[in-house]
């Protein structure tokens, strides 16, 4: 067998996956780049250059959308990293019912985002909701979680943390379990406290896990749509609109070219944020 054949041989195995990947991912993506430059009615199109992009940037709620998208991504990521790490440390310690507790923490991940969104919007009802009626019992006047324009996106971000913290915890648990036992033994022999163990061993050595959590949560947060749509629909008014919900509304309004241009912008926006963050945190990764 000559070397050329040898080289090609291994690629044949990739072919089925590659075809599926091209047909269902690459091809639609490339098409969307094309259609973003057109006036498009799904059956008919006309090339109009950058007009869709100009129109999209003139969208009145876009400024709110960018701000909310960033706020949402950062808040949700921070919450998931901090809470996920705390839960993971707790769930790796010697406690009773550890397996059960781990499952409970992971459970929300299994529920559909729409179901969670509907459940939380019921719980966050300003007067009848379980949250405010309990606050009322201890004499507090709970705010209108989803109806207050300045608060709505925060409430959705909180729900997203509740939903996503389970997956972060699981990744952290895996990271912490991978830390060799010898480090801790050495610390114990030297008489270190458990806080020192966390600060000098667990935290720096679970860095790879943390990087994974940050990247996943960040990208997830930047393109969040389902939860926002189920809980507020971008409202009240436009106050909790994120980029993805603005794009969806363009699509729903029948502005297909415009919506596609919005998708291209969202793609660039995510890439612009995700790449530098990815590079930055990878540089600081510590080898075990």
């Amino acid at each position: 067998m000559n070397t050329m054949n040898n080289k090609m041989y291994s690629y044949y195995f990739l072919l089925p996956a590659a075809i599926i990947y091209f047909l269902f991912f690459l091809f639609p993506t490339l098409m969307s780049f094309f259609y973003s430059f057109t006036w498009w009615t799904l059956t008919d199109w006309e090339f109009i250059g950058f007009e869709n992009f100009i129109n999209f940037f003139q969208e009145p709620s876009l400024r709110i959308g960018f701000r909310n998208t960033l706020f949402f991504a950062v808040t949700a990521t921070t919450g998931k990293v901090v809470l996920g790490l705390l839960f993971a440390v707790f769930l790796c310690s010697k406690i009773r019912n550890r397996g059960l507790l781990r499952s409970i923490v992971f459970f929300p991940v299994l529920i559909s985002a729409i179901a969670i969104g509907i459940a939380f919007s019921v719980m966050m009802h300003p007067t009848d909701g379980i949250i405010n009626s309990n606050l009322a019992k201890i004499g507090l006047n709970g705010p209108n979680w989803l109806g207050e324009p300045s608060l709505a996106i925060f409430s959705v971000a909180f729900t997203d943390i509740w939903r996503g913290v389970g997956i972060a915890t699981v990744i952290f648990i895996a990271g912490i379990m991978a830390i060799p036992w010898e480090y801790r033994e050495a610390l114990k022999i030297d008489g270190g406290s458990s806080f020192q163990e966390f600060w000098h061993i667990t935290l720096p050595l679970s860095r790879p896990a943390m990087n994974t959590v940050i990247i996943l949560a960040l990208i997830d947060g930047l393109r969040n749509f389902d939860l926002v749509w189920a809980m507020t629909g971008g409202g009240p008014g436009f106050s909790s609109d994120v980029l993805a919900s603005i794009i969806y509304k363009q699509y729903a309004g029948g502005f297909y070219g415009l919506a596609t241009a919005g998708n291209v912008i969202l793609f660039l926006f995510i890439a612009l944020i995700a790449f530098p963050v990815f590079k930055f945190i990878n540089r600081r990764e510590v080898d075990l």
Binding site: F24, F25, L26, P28, T29, S32, W39, T41, L42, T43, N55, Q58, P60, S121, H125, P126, T127, D128, N144, L146, G147, P149, I215, I219, R223, F225, G233, G234, G235, P236, G237, F238, S239, A244, I247, Y248, K249, Y251, A252, G253, G254, F255, L258, T260, N263, V264, L266, F267, I270, A271, A274, F275, F278, N282
Partner: protein, 441 residues
């Protein structure tokens, strides 16, 4: 390097999956198409209707058609409002539409491109009995694509007569009188104006229902608006609609129910029925739903037109019935046409009117509102007899901006002032006009 490659592929994947996310709405494919069994002659048609539609009438007609022509209908429900429009658009785009479709007539119908998607019904029998005023709302380029699926209805102020009697209130003839009534209701500890912004399409009503007043003061408005010459922001009669919402809302006199942001359409009806809320600016399509849920209260529900600033202009803004359309790509064309023909025949509509109480006059010749009509519908009749009615803007102009629900909900919630909201809506309408390819914008 490998990691970067991973990141690139990840981002592409994400962007790609978003581009395809619109498909979710139409997920439940009508896989039963192939089920039309070959052995006997019976045909099953699928029909997509909004969940806000009243099914009693349609089901009664469906039963009759099944007996007569052996054509049965399977009804699928979709959400109302923008969410439902999206389901329809997605299913049309993915060639996954039911055989028969119920959809809004007027401006919204134009957004789903009737010549491309639906069967031309211009030459079908019975079409000459449909009123011209209705035909205009389902016509594109001179061809007719739909038949009326219901009676017409009004967008107006529904009120609770019991509370009106208790507080000794009179039906207001001017906006100021309405606001005085509102104040008295509020002082009596009840909700003066029910707002159900949890379903934001309901936020548009006081603006849309004001169109009788707009066209009475500016008869050319609709025409100039379609041509791109008249705007909401600089036509004072049109701007009044936004101002009226503002006056009712949080930053105005604050006549809304406390939890208006979380209140649903159904809760709004409940408040009106129990008298907890006294006014509900709404479409009269709520009447049959209220009759079903609150049979004891339906006799207490009355209706009056949205008042103008002066007493001499007073009339109802009319909503044309939804259109019954036939999917152009249906494989059961004959059966679908037969079904529609029966539906719109005198016999069909009489069956319909018997089963479903009408929410306003019919737009087909020879069909009368029966004597046992809702109290509210009886109150409308004199206005129709006098001709003090006008179709809503979306039935006389193909342009309706997609963001109107959000914009009006902002005005009511006191987030955006009327002038600014009107300017924003004008921009929104311009976008729609461009997408529809209308000249002059």
């Amino acid at each position: 390097m490998k990691k970067e490659l991973m990141a690139v592929t990840c981002s592409w994947l994400l962007a790609g999956s978003l581009a395809g996310c619109g498909g979710d709405g139409g997920g439940e494919a009508s896989g039963n198409d192939a089920g039309g069994s070959s052995g006997n002659d019976s045909v099953t048609l699928s029909m997509l209707v909004s969940e806000t539609a009243n099914l009693n009438g349609i089901e009664a007609v469906a039963e009759a058609v099944e007996e007569e022509h052996n054509i049965s209908v399977e009804i699928e429900q979709r959400p109302g409002g923008p969410e439902g429009e999206n389901v329809v658009k997605t299913r049309l785009a993915t060639d996954d539409m039911s055989d028969l479709v119920l959809f809004n007539s007027g401006a919204l119908l134009q957004t789903i491109d009737p010549p491309e998607n639906f069967v031309d019904l211009t030459d079908e029998p019975n079409m000459d009995r449909v009123h011209d005023s209705y035909k205009e709302t389902v016509t594109t380029d001179g061809r007719i694509y739909g038949v009326p699926a219901n009676s017409s209805q009004v967008g107006a102020w529904l009120y609770n007569k019991k509370v009106y009697d208790e507080l000794d209130l009179e039906i207001p003839k001017t906006w100021d009188q309405l606001m005085e009534n509102n104040q008295m209701i509020k002082d009596a500890g009840k909700t003066a104006v029910i707002a159900s912004y949890n379903e934001i399409w309901t936020a548009q009503l006081p603006l849309l229902a004001d169109f009788y007043n707009v066209q009475a003061e500016e008869p050319e408005f609709a025409e100039n608006y379609t041509a791109g010459d008249a705007k909401f922001a600089d036509t004072s009669a049109a701007l009044r609609g936004f101002e009226k919402i503002w006056e009712l809302g949080v930053e105005g006199e604050n006549f809304f129910n406390e939890d208006f942001n979380a209140t649903t359409y159904n809760q709004g009806m409940e408040m009106l029925a129990t008298g907890e809320g006294v006014h509900y600016p709404m479409l009269s399509q709520v009447l049959p739903i209220m009759e079903e849920n609150y049979p004891d209260a339906i006799g207490d529900i009355g209706v009056f037109p949205q008042p103008n600033d002066t007493e001499d202009i007073n009339g109802f803004t009319v909503w044309m019935p939804d259109a019954l359309l036939i999917n152009k790509n249906t494989e059961k064309m004959e059966a679908a046409k037969q079904w529609v023909e029966f539906f719109i025949s005198k016999e069909g509509l009489e069956i319909y009117a018997d089963a479903a109480k009408s929410i306003g006059p019919f737009v087909v010749d020879g069909i009368q509102v029966p004597d046992d009509a809702f109290e509210a519908v009886k109150q409308m009749q004199p206005y129709f007899d006098e001709g003090s009615t006008a179709p809503a803007l979306e039935f006389v102009s193909p342009i309706k901006g997609a963001n109107l629900p959000q914009i009006t909900s902002e005005v009511g919630a006191g987030i955006r002032e009327p002038q600014e909201a009107a300017e924003m809506y004008d921009d929104d309408a311009e976008k729609q006009a461009n997408q529809l390819g209308i000249d002059g914008w």
